[in-house]
């Protein structure tokens, strides 16, 4: 019985680690592409009209706040799964009960 529970917990933890990895890969790829495009377009715009560089920087800052939100929310969920995994709670309750 104990071995079965330990196996179950290990299985949940292994799957959680895979999911955390997937979250990091997906969110970091999305954000990396977004930032690359954003920086590229900024340089393009600033090269074309240098006097607008300041204005573009302000807009880039605002857009960046939204762009990296996805990866930060991903990090938040990964932190939850890593340090306080709610998927383990039913198993722990079953052991306790």
């Amino acid at each position: 019985m104990e071995m079965e529970l330990a196996g179950l917990i290990a299985q949940i933890q292994a799957n959680t680690v895979i999911v955390i990895g997937m979250i990091f890969v997906a969110t970091s790829l999305g954000t990396a592409f977004g930032f690359a495009l954003l920086g590229g377009k900024f340089l393009e715009g600033a090269a074309r009209q240098p006097e607008l560089a300041g204005m573009l920087q302000v807009r880039m800052f605002i857009i960046a706040g939204l762009l990296d939100a996805l990866s930060i929310i991903g990090v938040a969920f990964a932190a939850l799964l890593m340090f306080a995994n709610p998927l383990l709670t039913p198993v722990q309750q079953a052991v306790g009960g």
Binding site: F35, G39, F42, L43, A46, A47, P50, E51, A53, G54, M55, Q57, V58, R59, M60, F61, I62, I63, A64, G65, L66, D68, A69, S71, I72, I73, V75, A76, F77, A79, L80, M82, F83, A84, P86
Partner: protein, 135 residues
Amino acid sequence: MVEPDAQNAEAALARVIAWLLRSQAMLTVATAVAFGLLGDLAMALAAMAGGSIGLLLTAITGLRLALAPGGEAKTMVRTFYRAMALKFVLAVILFIIVAKWFAGYFLPVVTGYFVTLMANWLAMRRLVALGGREH
């Protein structure tokens, strides 16, 4: 000697950052009050913690950008990417701390953070409404 255009751009950036921080603070308090009314004190504190993370990240990134010497576009982009990297590292640290403190109240934490992002949409809308007068 700093160019007038660069000075204007710095002032505009400072104004936008100040406006963003004000809006995020107000949204954080509103979310915490809503969670406090609908749930309990712990939920309100969790929402406040989530909102504070958003606020802190914006403040640090904004300061990092605003304090950097302006001028060339290349320098701006370099500073910007460094500020974003710092923001990401800070976000990881803060969310790990909060995940340990508010493990059972993670929905209010994420909601609190998510609500602060609305300030960015509002800031974009405001810029469009101002029609470029205030960058």
